[in-house]
C-alpha cells in the first residue's frame, strides 16, 4: 500500500508539525485560533503516530535516516514497536489533556500568556517524542534539554511566588542531571567513538574487556543524570513543589508524560546501546532495584504525610516511578516489559487523577484534603473518575495498576527474589492509605454530606468529556495488557 509505506517518514513529520506550528502561535492574536492550532496539530500527530504503529506492527521495526545520510554520520530514528506504542501514548494523552485545557486553562493563567503556554506544550511534546524516536545519544541530549526548558516554562507560567521558586529548583536540579548525562555521553564516546546506539552496541562488545571501569562510570552517570530528571527516589526533591504548584494541566503533562520520556531514554541506553548481557553483569541494575523499592515505599509514606491533595498525587508519582525502576532493576525481559507497561498505565491514570483534582480545586477554590469531604455529592462524576484512578493505583484487578503489580510480582519471583513481593504488597497497602480516605470521605459519612447540594458544583459533561475518554483509556490499557507486554518484550530485542 502506498499510504502505509509513507509511514516511514511519519515520525519526523510529527516532530516537524509540532515544532514548527509551536512558533506560529505567538504570532496569532486570537486565543481561539491558538487553541485550534494546538489541538489540531496534536490530533494530526496522534493520527500519524497511530498509522506508524500499524505499519510497525505489520512490517517490523525500521530505521529512518534524516536527510538520507547513512548511520554513523547522520542522525537516525529507530522505530520499533516499543517506540511506536510510546509515541501513540504520548500524542493521545497530550491531545486529551489539551482538550481539557480548552475549558479550564484561562481560569489559571492570564489570557495574554495563553499562546506562549500552547507553544511550550507543543515544543515539550515534540521534544519528548524526539527522545523516544531518536537513535543518536547526542540528539537525545539536545531533546532532553529542550524538554527541560519547556517543562520549566509550563511550571513558571502562573507567575506566582511558589511557581518561580519551584521552577528554579527544578531547573537547577535538571541542569545537574543533564551535566551528568552529558559527561556519561563523553565517557561512552571516548571508548566507542560513536553516538549512534546501534553502533555503540557493536563497539561496546569489544570495548567491555578493555575498559570495564569506563563503562561502569558512564552507566552510573547516565542513571543518576536521568534519575534526577525522572524523579528516582532520593533525587525526587524538586518534583512535589513543581508538580503541585503548576497549573493542573501542566501537572498532568509533567507527571504523566515528561517523567516517562527520561525513563524510556534510560531504558534505551541500558538495553539497546549497551545490551542486556553487558548490563546484567554490572552492579547498576541492583542499585536501580534498591532505589526503585525505596521510592515505592518512601514516596507513599511521604504522600500520607501531605495535607494538600495535589502534593499527595505528586508524591504518588514518586512511588509509581519507583515501580518502573523496580521493573528495570529486575534485569529480566519480563521486568523491563512490565516497566514499560507501567509507563503506559501510569501515564493515563495519573493524567486522569490530576485533571479530576484540578476540576475539584477549580470549582471549590480549596486545596486541602479535609476541604474535600462530602465532595462526592456535589461533584459525583468528577469524584467517580478520581475513584477509578485511585482503584487503579491501589491495584484492583483488570485496571492497569493491578496488571503491572501482578506481573512485577511474577517477574521478581522468576528472578529468584521473592522477598520483593513483600515490597510490592506494602507499597499497595500504603497507596490505599492515602487514596481511599479522599474517596470515602468524599462519598460517605453523615456529617460530611450534610448541607451539600447534589451535583451543585459539577462541571458540564462537555468539559469533563476528555477525562471520561481518559478513563476509557485506563480500562482499555488494562484490558489489552497481555498483547502490550508481549509487544514490549519484542521491541527490546
Amino acid at each position: 500500500m502506498i499510504s502505509l509505506a509513507m509511514a516511514k517518514s511519519f515520525p519526523l513529520l510529527i516532530l516537524l508539525i509540532l515544532l514548527i506550528s509551536a512558533f506560529i502561535m505567538p504570532l496569532v492574536k486570537n486565543n481561539r485560533v491558538v487553541k485550534g492550532i494546538s489541538l489540531g496539530t496534536m490530533m494530526m500527530a496522534a493520527v500519524l503516530s497511530v498509522i506508524t504503529m500499524i505499519y510497525v506492527v505489520k512490517n517490523g521495526s525500521f530505521v529512518y535516516r534524516i536527510g538520507h545520510w547513512d548511520a554513523p554520520w547522520g542522525i537516525e530514528f529507530y522505530i520499533s514497536p516499543m517506540e511506536a506504542a510510546i509515541g501513540v501514548l504520548f500524542t493521545w494523552v497530550a491531545g486529551l489533556i489539551l482538550w481539557y485545557s480548552l475549558y479550564s486553562l484561562e481560569k489559571e493563567i492570564p489570557s495574554e500568556k495563553l499562546p506562549f503556554y500552547y507553544l511550550l506544550v507543543n515544543v515539550l511534546i515534540g521534544a519528548l517524542l524526539g527522545i523516544v524516536y531518536s537513535n543518536d545519544i547526542f540528539n537525545c541530549f539536545v531533546f532532553v534539554e529542550i524538554s527541560t526548558l519547556a517543562s520549566c516554562g509550563i511550571v513558571v507560567i502562573k507567575d506566582k511566588k511558589e511557581n518561580i521558586k519551584a521552577a528554579l529548583k527544578y531547573l537547577i536540579l535538571s541542569c545537574l542531571g543533564s551535566g551528568l548525562f552529558l559527561m556519561g555521553i563523553a565517557f561512552l564516546y571516548s571508548i566507542t567513538g560513536n553516538l549512534n546506539m546501534t553502533f555503540i552496541y557493536k563497539e561496546v562488545a569489544a570495548a567491555q574487556y578493555v575498559y570495564p571501569n569506563v563503562i561502569l562510570i558512564s552507566v552510573v552517570l547516565f542513571t543518576i543524570g536521568l534519575g534526577v530528571k525522572s524523579a528516582m527516589f532520593p533525587l525526587h526533591t524538586w518534583l512535589p513543589d513543581a508538580h503541585s504548584s503548576a497549573p493542573s494541566v501542566s501537572s498532568a503533562l509533567l507527571s504523566s508524560l515528561v517523567l516517562k520520556g527520561f525513563v524510556i531514554l534510560l531504558i534505551k541506553i541500558l538495553f539497546r546501546a549497551l545490551g542486556f548481557t553487558l548490563v546484567k553483569e554490572l552492579p547498576i541494575l541492583d542499585l536501580i532495584l534498591i532505589l526503585g523499592s525505596l521510592g515505592m515505599i518512601m514516596g507513599s509514606v511521604f504522600a500520607i504525610l501531605q495535607k494538600e491533595i495535589k502534593r499527595v498525587i505528586a508524591y504518588s508519582s514518586v512511588a509509581q516511578v519507583g515501580y518502573i525502576f523496580f521493573g528495570i532493576g529486575l534485569a529480566s525481559e519480563l521486568g523491563v516489559a512490565v516497566a514499560l507497561y507501567h509507563v503506559f498505565g501510569h501515564a493515563v491514570t495519573k493524567a486522569m487523577l490530576f485533571l479530576t483534582v484540578g476540576a475539584m480545586i477549580e470549582t471549590t477554590g480549596k486545596k486541602k484534603i479535609e476541604d474535600f469531604k462530602g465532595i462526592g455529592k456535589e461533584m459525583p462524576i468528577t469524584l467517580g473518575l478520581f475513584t477509578l484512578g485511585a482503584l487503579s493505583m491501589v491495584g484492583i484487578p483488570i485496571l492497569p495498576g493491578f496488571v503491572s503489580k501482578w506481573n512485577l510480582a511474577l517477574a521478581s519471583i522468576s528472578a529468584g527474589k521473592p522477598i520483593l513481593v513483600a515490597i510490592i504488597l506494602i507499597s499497595s497497602i500504603l497507596n490505599a492509605l492515602y487514596y481511599f480516605p479522599v474517596v470515602i470521605h468524599g462519598f460517605f459519612g453523615e456529617e460530611n454530606l450534610k448541607d451539600r447540594v447534589y451535583k451543585s458544583k459539577q462541571k458540564p459533561v462537555k468539559e469533563m468529556l476528555p477525562v471520561i475518554c481518559l478513563s476509557v483509556a485506563v480500562l482499555f490499557v488494562g484490558l489489552i495488557s497481555e498483547p502490550l507486554i508481549q509487544l514490549f518484550s519484542l521491541g527490546l530485542k
Partner: protein, 120 residues
C-alpha cells in the same frame, strides 16, 4: 598517578567538574549556583574536546589544500560541543531570568532565606 599526568586534560576537566558540582550543590546564593553550573558545563566541554584532540594535527578547517583525514583532528566532538555551548547559554539565560523574577517576588536570592519564607 602517572596516568593522571599523562591525561592532564581529562584530569583537569574532572577537577573542574567537581568544583562546579560542589558550587552548584553547596552554595545558597542563586547566582553562585548558576556560575557553578557553568563551570560544570565548561568542564564537560573541555573533556569532550580533549577526547577529539590529536597532538600535532590541525583544526579541521581546510585552507588552500586538503591534507587528507590524517592531517586534522577529530571534528565531531568540537561540533557537538558547539551545540552543547548553545544549550548551556540558553539554560543560563533562563535561570538568570528566573532569578530576577525571584528577586522581585522575595527580595533576596539566598535560597535558605527563601525556603524560610515558605509559610506565606
Amino acid at each position: 598517578m602517572e596516568r593522571l599526568f599523562i591525561n592532564y586534560f581529562e584530569t583537569g576537566a574532572i577537577i573542574l567538574f567537581g568544583v562546579g558540582f560542589a558550587t552548584l550543590l553547596l552554595h545558597n546564593n542563586l547566582i553562585k549556583k548558576i556560575i557553578g553550573m557553568n563551570i560544570m558545563d565548561t568542564a564537560i566541554f573541555l573533556f569532550f574536546i580533549a577526547k577529539g584532540y590529536i597532538p600535532g594535527r590541525e583544526a579541521p578547517i581546510i585552507q588552500d589544500v586538503h591534507k587528507g583525514a590524517a592531517g586534522y583532528i577529530n571534528p565531531v566532538p568540537s561540533a557537538l560541543m558547539l551545540t552543547g555551548i548553545v544549550v548551556a547559554v540558553s539554560i543560563t539565560a533562563f535561570a538568570l531570568a528566573l532569578t530576577i523574577k525571584l528577586h522581585e517576588k522575595y527580595g533576596t536570592i539566598e535560597l535558605d532565606q527563601i525556603m524560610e519564607m515558605r509559610g506565606d
